[in-house]
Symmetry: D2
């Protein structure tokens, strides 16, 4: 408490409303290209793959935070209206520079009505 | 992952280093006076009661966040040096206005080396 | 642009609506007690002295930031509803530890409709 | 105070150290593609075009904020180490959805040693 809602595979869930709830709040991490030690790496984080989330004044995605394991790497905060007050995939592209052999990327999204949602972790092998 | 470290009663822990680790990172919530519906309520959050935490450039308390249940009420971010680069209890006093019968206050502290730490929840009865 | 609105002495302003606009957005800094080098100092920042500001979903105070000269010391972010969705003085008490002879405290408030507002600076002599 | 440092055209500046100082702190905004009303627009903000900025524990870029005129659209905060503790262009790609005819984009970067730096404004015509 606050609950850290974890992603569940929505293909295993029968009820449409629940699939929508989980998908639209869950952060999905996409790493662009190959990670190389000491080089800038592009990491896109988007909430929802199939379902979009409201961007209403009283119900919106307030932030997306990127962690490597326990360590916060960057955090982006939004306002209601960043996405035009229309249903959207809240998203941001972070840029990081890995200096070690492996990253364990994980993201949190925060919804002003439904709290904190955690992505599945993404292990990234970093080439020397 | 990231781990949400939960407060443990340190009087039950033998090892000094572990007591220190847990206490210095754990947020303690103090509500000042009686909570009354529609009136401003002062809520102090402090990290550590017995042990202080470094405020070093590479190891400091970066933020304190206050929740009511799942809902983020306010968040304060610090820089290394807010507390003079000396061992300190990172702290802040928030002001909120309760409009319902019960609050379930809970706080997170974030340490740049040791991640997220959660207070014990504080139930607050709000007088009409 | 964005404009940094500076505080104007509202006693010199005739129009009530303008006095209200300026006062309710302007941060006022109050230092508690005497500042001593190496000791924790309590710094209260409140928006508005005579006029309160809405805490509506589409119009609220989103943050208060405290600077010492050019240096950000701490920042507190709010959500619509931190102050019960009623007209309020958004406020927070920061704790800092001065390590030099003089502080030049200044605060910014950010309103989601009316942008950034700057307090008058407060010079603080720090006793050895 | 805090000073809002404005971008100056560095090709007009003789002294290398000053060109470096201004360039490495100044946000540069790049809008990808054509802006269309109601469609997601990608906005990249990068600090420095020719000179990179340290990512040291005691000297780093702490945040990049994107405004449309007076209105904050989104803010990204970094930690020392987001960019591997190497000299870098701190950067982020925001996604926004314009709903009006013209945007007046402007960005702030905050350096923990040299304060707030403002980009030149970028006017964006939004196609219906």
């Amino acid at each position: 408490m606050p609950t850290i809602h974890k992603y569940e595979d929505i293909s295993q869930i029968d009820r449409e409303a629940k699939r929508d709830l989980i998908d639209r709040h869950s952060p999905f991490i996409t790493v662009k290209g190959e990670a190389k030690k000491g080089e800038i790496l592009e990491v896109h984080v988007q909430l929802g793959q199939e379902y979009t989330h409201p961007d209403d004044f009283d119900h919106y995605i307030e932030s997306i935070t990127l962690f490597d394991g326990e360590t916060k790497l960057a955090m982006t905060t939004f306002v209601p209206g960043t996405f035009g007050n229309e249903k959207s995939h809240a998203q941001v592209t972070f840029f990081i520079r890995p200096m070690k052999k492996k990253l364990n990327l994980i993201a949190h999204g925060y919804c002003t009505k439904h709290g904190i949602w955690e992505s599945t972790p993404v292990e990234v092998e970093v080439a020397e």
